[in-house]
Each structure stands twice: as structure tokens, then as C-alpha cells.
Symmetry: C2
Subunit: 278 residues, 2 copies
């Protein structure tokens, strides 16, 4: 089902948006998950035209979030991200909620550090209550992404699908959904039941493999499907049974893949997607 | 409450059992968690006498498990471990259940590899049904240790306290309990409710900190309490409220700590334990 395959732009992060769009068209990949870094380099107006002309679907905008320190600045940044998602016609804005306050992604605790995990989670719920109606008014869904628990301290205090659903269900289904990313949730003993529970809350299904052993930088432990240990078919089947019919993004953070020829990566991605995921 | 402090032997892994026992006595630490590696070096009979003469309590024997590949060999090894725990008067044998079949700890998938996580979990339940009565007859409790989900592939498909309790509750409380290890469970949004649920199932409470960022070898991301991001008091309070009054083991896997003077480590451990844990 290449018809549902989407290239998440971080998989080819050295490509500009223009290059990634051209690559998708060249390889017959019908959708793209856009990252804000490359979007800003391209410029929003140009990007809107580029994507419309390409005929590609935009499956998501990555990413908003980093809400755990509280404050108006984070909210303002997320409102800008929602506006961008609306302009692109992206159905959802992927939200990585942030780790403990004062812990930068990949870094050590610094100014503003707090050990209060419960407090950080409370800040996320509060910020979501501010942002969800704003997103809803613009036709954008906030897609809460539970991250693997090994990123709890520095990237996301949202650690399981169940926890994401607990948060999402406080809001209308068209305003707040969840992301099912195989790398982050494959280990979860409650995964089948929670995917079923998610149902129409599933805003995005992202796939990549879990490399074993992990590389030294655990952020880069994501691998091409088939190179790791994840058994994709039961997860894909559960997501389908829950009613999700949207695009399936391949999002891989991996130094070797970033160093490779992106056209080779896309060719491999298409082949592996068909062989292992669907 | 130094009266409940126990030195898990892996914290001073370069010490022999004789040295660790002498160290505990010298520093007024009243209990020790014994590892089988050093136990075998010492010899069981000598170890029994050494520990009895020392007056130390044995808080646990580490460790049994690695049951996911199935087979009689793993069961036989675990029966030997149970016998050793009984001989030492250890109240529990800590069980690290094993990762996906064919994935060695810290290694890459090899012969016998299977991606079936559900199957691996089923093997654990089956093995437990074999071992629990054997342990019960010898007065030893199997203590199921949920490991952090980042070890799911290679060390333990048992990833949360809830999952451990689901397994344990199929057996009498005196035969199968659970370990609460702060490093493995601190991130879990269900932790307070699951510690309360555990109640008398808590067989061991182990503490160490989560270092941020993790070192290149994620096995060694355990730190001295206070050096990382974990907020211990709420967890300690929950464990106490659940009724656990046993020893509290400090178990740290950390290259710097292993390279340090063990007497310095014990002095720091006592100080930090009093300041951050209880």
C-alpha cells in the first residue's frame, strides 16, 4: 500500500523541502510529513505553493510542544506552529511535549531544573487546554506523541499511549489526537488494548525500527524497518482495526541513513515498507 | 533510616563477597544484596558461614530469570539459584526475565532470534508457573523485576510494574512478588497507583538515580542518588504506604563508581541515602 506511504522529512533531513518534495514525486511517494526547520528555510508562502503544485498530501507538521516549563512564550510558539499547519493544509501538528523543566533535549539539567514529574505533566495538561481550541478553530488537530520512556527526562514526560489518551480525551476528538510511533510504543504491554481504545483519536501512524543494541546517542536508535527488532504486522493490524485509514509516515533518526544518498534511502524505504509494515 | 539500608553487591562489583561483607560491617550497613557471580567465587558453604558470622541480613539474591527462550536448561539454572537463595536465607530471588529470544544482553539479534514479543511474554508466564511452587517450598520468593522499556529487546520483556503484578497475581503472594527499582519505573505515569496495588507483593525496593544524559552504554546510566533526575521521596512514601518495611537496596551500575574507592562509595551512599531517599 504505497498509496499510504509518507516520507517524514527528518528521514532525509539533509534535503531541503524543495529537494524532499521533488524526491517524493520522483519516487511516487504520495505524501510528506513536513518539519518546521526546513519549512522556515523555504518560507511558508513558497512552501504552500510548492506543495500544492506537487500534488503531494501533507500528512503532518512536525513539531510543536515543549510545554513543561510553562509560560506564554511556549504557547505563542505553538500558536505559530498551528498557523503554519493550517496554511499547509496539514491535518495535524505533532506535539512532543517536553521533558522535566530545565533539561534541554539530549543535555544535562540546567537553570530552572525541577524533579517534579507530576508538576511537568500538569503543565502539559494546562497548556493543552489553551492550545486545543485555537487549533480546532483553524482545522488543525494537535497530535500528542508519547515518546519512549528513555526520553522522559529531556524530551517528553508523555510516555505511553494510555497517558496520551487520558490527556486527549479531555478535548474534542477533532482538536486533540495521538500519534502511534512504533519506535516509542512497541514495548508497551498495553499497546493492543490502547490502540483499540484510541480509535478515531489516532491522528498519525509513524513507523521505524528499534535498533539493537542502541547506538551511543539514543536519539539515533531508530532504524529502517527490518533492521531492528520490531514486529510491525500486529501493530499495523491493530491501527487498521481501530479505524485509521490515513497516511503512514516513515520517520527515521539515524546517522548512517542521514549520511547515505537520499534517493537510495527512498528506494529502500519503499521496498521495506511494502515488505514489513503493511 | 540507615537501619534499612542494604548494599547491593553490584554497586561495588570489584569487591569479592568477603570484601563487601567486611565493607558493610565497617560502615555500619546492616544488609547486603548478594550477586551469584561473587557468591560462586566465594563458594556457597563459605558464604553461608561468612554471612552468618557477619550479622548482616541478606536482602536478596541477584539474579535468576532469562526465561524467554524457553527450555529445561533455563529452568534448571533457576532452580539452582532458588536453592542458593534458600541456603543464604535470602528472602527473595530477583528475576530479570530476559529479552526477545536470541538477543543477548547488550548485543545484537543472533541465532534463535524471534520478534514475537507476545510469545516471549508467554514463555515467562509458563516458566513462572514451573518455578513458583519450587521456590515456595524452599521459602524463597521470586521477585519479578520490571526493567526500563529500553531493555525490552535484550534484558527483560517485563517492562512495567502493572505487567509484573499481572504475572505475580497468578501465584500465592509468598511465592511471587515484585521489585520496585526507581531507575526502571520512575517515568511510569501509573506508578503511584501500581505501587498501591502491589501492597504485600513488594519483595524488594531498590534505589539509584537516572543520569541525564545517559552514557553511551545505557546499562550504565544508573547513578548515585542525587546525581540524576529522580524525585525519590514520593516513590519512597508510596512504597511505605503500600506496607513495605523491608530493606532498601542501593544498586548502581556505573563505570565511574566501579572505578572509585569502594570505601568512598559506601560513605557517599550512606550520606545520599539519608539525604534523598528516606
Amino acid at each position: 500500500m504505497i498509496s499510504r506511504l509518507s516520507l517524514n522529512q527528518w528521514t532525509t533531513r539533509n534535503w531541503s523541502l524543495e529537494e524532499a518534495v521533488a524526491g517524493c514525486v520522483r519516487h511516487g511517494i504520495p505524501a510528506i510529513g513536513v518539519w518546521r526547520e526546513q519549512l522556515h528555510e523555504c518560507g511558508l508562502e513558497r512552501a504552500v505553493k510548492l506543495l500544492a503544485d506537487s500534488g503531494l498530501r501533507v500528512s503532518s507538521l512536525c513539531r510543536g510542544g515543549f510545554l513543561t516549563a510553562g509560560g506564554e512564550e511556549a504557547l505563542a510558539g505553538n500558536r505559530r506552529a498551528i498557523d503554519e499547519a493550517a496554511a499547509l493544509g496539514a491535518p495535524c501538528l505533532v506535539m512532543v511535549v517536553g521533558g522535566l523543566p530545565g533539561v534541554p533535549p539530549g543535555g544535562a539539567p540546567g537553570p530552572g531544573f525541577s524533579r517534579s514529574l507530576a508538576g511537568a505533566r500538569e503543565r502539559v495538561a494546562e497548556a493543552l487546554a489553551e492550545l486545543a481550541p485555537y487549533a480546532g478553530e483553524r482545522g488543525v488537530r494537535l497530535a500528542l506523541e508519547p515518546l519512549h520512556p528513555m526520553y522522559c527526562a529531556d524530551r517528553a514526560v508523555l510516555s505511553t499511549l494510555a497517558q496520551a489518551l487520558d490527556l486527549a480525551e479531555a478535548h474534542p476528538v477533532e482538536q486533540v489526537g495521538v500519534v502511534v510511533d512504533t519506535f516509542h510504543v512497541w514495548w508497551d504491554p498495553r499497546l493492543p488494548e490502547q490502540i483499540a481504545r484510541a480509535g478515531a483519536r489516532i491522528a498519525s501512524y509513524q513507523v521505524c525500527d528499534w535498533l539493537q543494541p542502541l547506538p551511543a546517542d539514543v536519539l539515533l536508535g531508530r532504524g529502517m524497518m527490518g533492521d531492528g527488532v520490531i514486529d510491525f504486522p500486529p501493530i499495523t493490524a491493530a491501527v487498521a482495526a481501530a479505524g485509521y485509514t490515513g497516511d503512514i509516515e516513515v520517520e527515521i533518526f539515524n546517522a548512517d541513513i542521514w549520511a547515505a544518498d537520499p534517493d537510495e534511502v527512498l528506494a529502500t524505504m519503499k521496498r521495506r515498507f511494502a515488505a514489513t509494515v503493511v
